[in-house]
Every structure is written in structure tokens, then in C-alpha cells.
């Protein structure tokens, strides 16, 4: 049925656990979507990243414990700035430790999975640095040029459209966005040459 990683919704980002998917496939058995069979197979072989997550969270919680202690905890009847973060981070530490232990006990079903099987590293590296670059370049090149270049990059490189489509879309989008954000909403953007 429907879910694996394919849920277009901001409301409830969903990566459903195995039991929910099984339950839903009973509910929705009439729906067949072929691409999800492949996804389901990947899910069955999935490696458990809970251990890494647990480690990361333990690191974070210990850092916060130390930092809040330094800020000052105060006492129960006079809690200072560090009191609440201290309590929360202790709780976080305990629970992430529990996660760590649980992940060691669980079977790791597939040893053979590489990082790149689960995470699409190429896409991540194609998109995220460009977002940062937009901000870096905005000051020097100005809003119009930066936006135009960004659109060209994303539509052409990532969307793989032909050149004339790319340029047309980039041009139109830049104009529309300029209209909305700069003329209408009067946001302040470094304008540069145009």
C-alpha cells in the first residue's frame, strides 16, 4: 500500500513502522502500487540505526547536562536558568541510554547494507550546499541574479529539463518572486545589479 518513504505531507511526516504498515496492508489490500513493493523489500532488510541515534543523543544530553550545570541550576525552591534544561537533559540521557541498550539487543537483519543504500547521499550533496551558496552569494550578486542562477541550477541539474525550458522557468520565477517579495511585500533584499 501507500507508505514507505512516500508521504507528501508536512502535517505528519510518516515513515511507518513495520507493524503499522502490516496493519495498513490488511486495511488497504485493494490498493496496489508497484513501486512500493521495492520499498517494502528494502524495509525488510533494513539495518537498525538506533544504535547510532542512541549514541548521538547520549552525546547531546551529556553536553547539555554539563552546560546547564555551568549556567547554574539553583535549588528546587529557587530554580535558575539551568534547572529546566538540566532536568530535561537528564531524562533524555536516561531514555537514550535505554535506546542504546535496546538496539544492541535487537537483531540486525542485514549486515550488508551500506550507508548509501538508505541515504541518498548524492542528492543531499547536490541540494544542500546550493542552499548555503544562495545565502552566501546573495549579498554580492544581488537578489535577481542569485535567484535566477539558483532556478537554473535546480531545474536543469536536478530536474533535468532542457535548456530552453530551464531558462524560461528561471526567468518567469525570478520575475514573479521579485514581484511578490520585493514589490508587494517590500522585503529588504540586497539588490545588486538588477
Amino acid at each position: 500500500m501507500v507508505q514507505g518513504q512516500y508521504n507528501h505531507s508536512f502535517f505528519q511526516p510518516v515513515l511507518w513502522a513495520e507493524r503499522d504498515r502490516r496493519r495498513c496492508s490488511i486495511l488497504f489490500k485493494d490498493i496496489k502500487m508497484n513501486k512500493f513493493d521495492l520499498l517494502n523489500k528494502i524495509q525488510l532488510l533494513k539495518k537498525n540505526y538506533d544504535f547510532h541515534a542512541g549514541l548521538f543523543l547520549i552525546f547531546i544530553s551529556i553536553s547539555f547536562v554539563i552546560m546547564s550545570y555551568r549556567v547554574g541550576i539553583g535549588e528546587l525552591h529557587n530554580p535558575r536558568a539551568g534547572f529546566f534544561p538540566f532536568c530535561v537533559s537528564i531524562l533524555l540521557f536516561v531514555m537514550s541510554f535505554g535506546l542504546l541498550i535496546a538496539s544492541i539487543k535487537k537483531n540486525v537483519r542485514s549486515q550488508g547494507e551500506n550507508l548509501s543504500d538508505r541515504f541518498n547521499i548524492k542528492t543531499v550533496f547536490l541540494i544542500l550546499p546550493v542552499l548555503v551558496m544562495y545565502g552566501v552569494v546573495l549579498d554580492t550578486l544581488g537578489f535577481t541574479i542569485t535567484t535566477f542562477l539558483f532556478m537554473v541550477y535546480t531545474v536543469r541539474i536536478l530536474g533535468k529539463k532542457r535548456w530552453w525550458v530551464t531558462l524560461l522557468i528561471a526567468f518567469i520565477t525570478t520575475q514573479v518572486v521579485h514581484l511578490i517579495f520585493i514589490k508587494w511585500l517590500r522585503c529588504q533584499f540586497p539588490l545588486g545589479i538588477f
Binding site: 501507500v2 518513504q5 512516500y6 508521504n7 507528501h8 505531507s9 508536512f10 502535517f11 505528519q12 511526516p13 510518516v14 515513515l15 511507518w16 513502522a17 503499522d20 496493519r23 490488511i26 488497504f28 489490500k29 490498493i31 513501486k35 540505526y49 541515534a53 547554574g72 528546587l76 530554580p79 536558568a81 539551568g82 529546566f84 534544561p85 530535561v88 537533559s89 533524555l92 531514555m95 541515504f119 542528492t123 543531499v124 541540494i127 544542500l128 542552499l131 548555503v132 545565502g135 552566501v136 535567484t147 539558483f150 532556478m151 535546480t154 531545474v155 536536478l158 530536474g159 533535468k160 529539463k161 522557468i169 520565477t173 518572486v177 517579495f181 511585500l185 522585503c187 529588504q188 533584499f189
Partner: protein, 500 residues
Amino acid sequence: MTLLENILLGIQVSFQLDNILFCFIGVLVGTLVGVLPGIGPVGAMSLLLPVTYGMSPVGAIIMLGGIYYGAQYGGTITSVLVNIPGEASTIVTCIDGYQMAKKGRAGPALGIAAMGSFIGATIVIAAMMFISLPLAKIALRFGPPEYFSLVCLGIVALTMLSQGSVYKGILMALLGTLVGTIGMDIFAVTRFTFGITELMDGIGLVPIIMGFFGVSEILVNIEQPEERRFYIDTVKGIFPSLADWSAAKWAIFRGTIIGFFLGILPGGGALISSFASYAIEKRISRYPEKFGTGMIEGVAGPETANNAAAQASFIPLLSLGIPANVVMAVMFGGLLIHGIQPGPLLVRDHPDIFWGVIMSMYLGNIMLLILNLPFIGLWVKVLKVPYQLLFPVILLFCLIGTYSINNSIFDIYTLVIFGLLGYIMRKTDFEAAPFALAFVLSGLLETNFRQSLILSDGSLLIFFKRPISLFFIIAVVGFVVFNIYGVNKIRSSEKNSLGK
């Protein structure tokens, strides 16, 4: 003021020209966002949040709210026509709705969905009018311990009711609370800022939400080439027949009730309501085996429920000041930026805002009915835009929206970091919703906690001694227990009955 006077005040406010415009923009964007897979109301609201800075607070709530309930209408369209849910709350509509489309009955499906949604939403708004004032009066008696316990209940309920591992959800909620403490506390003590000036006010809400629900969503979706099989190109015959109506009317009625209660419940919302409505319709029906082949109750019930729930989820925010789900949390954060604290004080001191928002919801739903019925062809055309063209625009809006808040590149760094984090979380089975809710509520949680301790002179028992607070804490415990024992029983019995 009497109820009638409040209503008239509300009508006066909501019919101001610019508020009408904002309402229209909100519901239009909402429908658009609902129709397009890949972006949802949370993302759209956070994108438009910077836009609302120049507006009056009423206008801001009207517009942002319109996005939320508008998306419930819009999501139906993709679900019925393409079998891809535009929103999580319209997943269930895919089942029977698409089958109806295949049989040439897309029009009645969309029609009954829109009309049921309208009926459900209108009834809930009417209920809002009657219970908001008494609820606010009760809330005025809340002190810090009550607020603390209530907020805990909201976060716990959301975590318990969402999919995925509850344990991991609580972990994310704790992490979100912690991240929310970065910055100055109420006594202006800076903490965890590492000397970075931009962090003194805390990490921005908008970059986090856009990163979690916008950028990471795109990163996940880009991996899969999308195949959309349209069932029909043009929609004819929007109006359902009399037979359809007689079959669906009870489903609509039940959907309204389900949506109302599950929408008010902290942690509930449109998603849960639609699922619950479908399950109930199937169980009550005389022909349960026909569900999945195009039963109109399977469309009318969930669609009504999700809209009723969307409207009902405003109630805790506006009357109590507690957001019931992530969408309301974004609204809450947005209002805080405007300097407005939603809650009983808002109802008492700014009745024009409160009642203006309620009255404009009627208006919004009427606009949506018009947008969804006669103008359905417009949305069918929108559906044909390929994702490759869509996501660059979404990314651009995320960038511009984030940058325009402070003209600071630091916000963009935040956006990227949380985009990456959100992506990793999604791939490793950690939910972003509890994090986001807890992040927004972290300030409330901490302030009330500290004030309670000061009030009680250091005794933690204050949370248990005061009756309302004790009630909420018992509810929290009840949720935990229910989740561990009860839900598993229901799930296994459901599996047994559905498997037949």
C-alpha cells in the same frame, strides 16, 4: 458581552476588506498546497509566516488558518483523481474515492467530499461559538501548574497518537524541548549560545519548520521518480445524486462528531479523525466487504471528519492557549512573533480578534466550497505540473522566506542543518512532529514549571495537589497505559476482524 454581540463584532471584523482578502488568499493557498503532493499546510504556513509580519494579528490568523482547513479540501482532489494523497488526512479517501473515479463517478465523489466537509466544518464552528467562552472562563482559573500539566498532556498525546515508535517520539519531544531552551530565558540569562549573537533569541522557528517539513521532504521525495496515473481528465457531474446523499448523510453526521472530538483532543487532528471515521464506517456498514470498491460512505465520512477536526483543533489554541498539533504549534509560534499570546486572556481582552477569526472561518468554508465545486477544473490543471518543476519553486520559497526574516545567512545555515537532520530522522524512523511541537512549547513548559516551583516554594507536589493539574497528569498516565496495553489489544482484534 452576550453571544449575539460577540457574533456581530466578529462579523464586523471578518468582513473588513483586507480580512476578506487574507481569508481568500489563505484558503486558495491551502487548496493549492493540499492538491500538490510534496508540500503541506505546515510548510506553507511557515513559508507565509514572514509575510504576515506586516499584517494585523487577525489577518495573520485568518490567513494561516485558512491554509490549514483549505488543505483538507484540496487533498481530496488528488486522492480521488490520481490515487495519491495530497495530504496525510486524505489518504483514506484514496481507497474508495479513486475506485469511484475509475467507475466514472469522480464528480459525485468530489462533490460529496466538498459538501460533507462544508457541513462538518460549519457545525464545528457553530459548536466553537458556544463552548469557547465557557472553556476560556475555566482556563482563566489555570495557574502555572495547570498549564504545565496540560502542555505535557498535549505533547504526550501527540506522541502517543502518531505513527512510529512512541519511545522514539518521546525522545524527539525531549530533544525538541531542550533545543527550545537555547537562548535567553525569562530572566534574560543567555544559555547554550556559544557566543553566537544570532542564537540569543533562540533558534528561529521558521528555519526549523521549513527545514524539517520542507527541505527534508523534498530530499526524500526527489529520490523517487513519480508516476501519476490520472484517472480522468475532466470532471463532470459534480453533484451527487439523491441516492448518494441518502447513503452518505449518516456518514457525514458521524464524521462531524468524530472530527470534533478527535480534533479538540491534544495530539489528535485531521489525520486520526479520517482514519477513525473510515474504520467506523466500515464496521457499521451493512456491506463492509464493499468498502474499497467505491462506497460513497468511505469518502463522505473521512472527508467530513478531517475538516471537522481541522476546525476543532483551533479550539484549544484560541481558548486555552495550547496548540493541539503541529499545525497549531506553528500558528502559536507565529502569534508569539506578533506579540500575541493566544488563550483565555485573548478571548477576554481582544474579543475582536477571537470572534473575527471564528466568523471568517464560515466565510472561508463558503469560499472553499465555491473553489472546490465549480472551479474544480482549475485544480485538475494544477495537478498536471510535474514534480521537477515544483520542487525548485518550493526550495526557492523556503530560502527566500527564511532569509527575509532577519536578512541573516545564519538562518539559512539553520535551515540547511535542520533540513539534513529532518532527512536523517525520516530515514531512521524518528518523527519530526513531536520535536516541532515540543520546540514551540518549550518556553511555555519551562516558564510554568519554574513559576510553579517558586509558588510552591520548591515542592514538586504542587502539580499533584491542585485538582485540575492532577487531572491532566492522570490523563498523561492514562495515555501511557492505554498505549502500552489497550492499543495493542485493539490492533490485534482489528487485524482479526479485518482479515476476514
